[in-house]
Assembly symmetry: C2
Amino acid sequence: MSLFKNDLILRAARREPVERTPVWMMRQAGRYLPQYRAVREGRSFLEMCKTPELATEVTLQPVDLIGVDAAIIFSDILVIPEAMGSNLELIESKGPVIYNPVRTASDVENLKVIDAVSDLGYVLDAIRMTKKQLNNRVPLIGFSGAPWTLLTYMVEGGSSKSFKFSKSMIMDQPKTAHRLLKDLSFAISDYLIAQVEAGADIIQIFDSWASALDPVYYEEFGLPYIEFIVDSLKVLDVPVIVFAKGANASLERLSKSGAHVLGLDWTISLAEAKSRVGNSVALQGNMDPSFLYSSPESIEREVKRILSLWGPETGHIFNLGHGILPDVPPDHAKAMVNAVKQFSVR
Amino acid sequence: MSLFKNDLILRAARREPVERTPVWMMRQAGRYLPQYRAVREGRSFLEMCKTPELATEVTLQPVDLIGVDAAIIFSDILVIPEAMGSNLELIESKGPVIYNPVRTASDVENLKVIDAVSDLGYVLDAIRMTKKQLNNRVPLIGFSGAPWTLLTYMVEGGSSKSFKFSKSMIMDQPKTAHRLLKDLSFAISDYLIAQVEAGADIIQIFDSWASALDPVYYEEFGLPYIEFIVDSLKVLDVPVIVFAKGANASLERLSKSGAHVLGLDWTISLAEAKSRVGNSVALQGNMDPSFLYSSPESIEREVKRILSLWGPETGHIFNLGHGILPDVPPDHAKAMVNAVKQFSVR
């Protein structure tokens, strides 16, 4: 018997029978919630991440307020680069900035080798505190950015539209890129194992910028490192979700990575994705996050449409195809969650 | 016998034999060229579009300076919305702004029904002038935005990341969206026919924001209107290129639209796209525009790789997978064009 009051997401991830489809939202602990903004007021994003009491408080908000079937620890994918030496600032209006970008072989060599327990202990503390306060109501998701995505931030010095420096690195200095990706893979693997040891019940790896690469280059600079990390997590008894945003061309290979679940954005039909991966993995997604701007009636219709593309069997975790947007009305998020709960009952 | 000195692009578009692969670049008449910036200095983008002498001058620059196998008339996809009543400003640093967005049924009803000859005569004048000065060295590409892409700008009031208003419109007011798309389709069709009558030798339809929609919605709000436009151009003896950026899920259906060529971005392998569309259409693309930041040696290697994915037969037009970026060194663009010319000889 499960120790959780609600373990739907863990069962769906392992394709075990479920009474209904579980649902959560990427960025569910975030700015669309007035209660989040109240906690955040006057504090930097990194201060929130590094103060376990605050991280715990906002992690629990969507469980209480929206009724999602999982919590995801409040943190940021860039905590690893920061621990490795990136001089990071998260600026609300313009996204992350890294003041000392990594551009050469010696920049990569000078990065710090991190130890998750000593360097990222604040995340582990937040996980332990959250687990206590969650009291097994729902499982807790731990997460990390994937190596390619973290590389882009470190090399560009923040967000990018063109990926000028990271794409030049893979073309002109492929060995340097591979060295950085390898170093990141070890750090991420260590970090995720530490998250599970601290209490995370399920893991998601975010490759948010998978979509930036031609599939051939993604299969060289993205996928092998995800495969390494997934492999390193096999010793642990937790399901792993890989969300390689936009990497639809690589779905078949991703389905053989050992991940239990693949996340999908909304540029592929759930029915097509399901037919392409067969019964090898569960799928998570994939409602267009912008559809949460439409009326609750339209949202309900869209939820029904996506549920019907999947059908009655287990193996689907309902989610948005990307993070919830900051100006979505919380009632619309609730309308989506309630519709999944109502219309997916087996 | 062809009246052109170089008609490679027309033959490749019709899958007729070619001595080598033709090559051009989206946004080839643009800011990466110092000679373009010199003409542009102190002038607005719209002033350039509306002054046939200036539009002609910059249209010819990449033919002379970079050696591309086609010219594309210098203009903007937003000239149609402007003619229909959008109060448009093209601001270099932040993209287009439309001060009177279209959000309701009555906003759509109040749009002007345009006549290309009287309302967009400045584009037709620029085409006539360019044709004269080109003197049949290479063919001239005419173009328009696709209905869905133009809708997003008109409804959002400019560029958008979330497509908040346009996606709400298709969800909550689908009839209004369809009415606007239909009105745009008639205007675009009329405009493209007028471009051909003025001298355009080949047409490209840009659906730059196809990628924003779930394929099911793209097949409702995007594709049928492209099909209508392509169909309306059938009476003319010009090849039509459809570039539905990122709509890889809809490739098969697009290949049955009657378009002669489909444009591809770099998120799909050219080999995969070729095998999916079979021998029904030619393909255009698809080098990652950011790879032009890398060294000429890397650019040459990448050109060879893409050419080898296609093989020796006709039916491939080499291009970037999106517009050339404004800070690319012109020599790098030239390295790409020269590599295509050198390594694609049959």
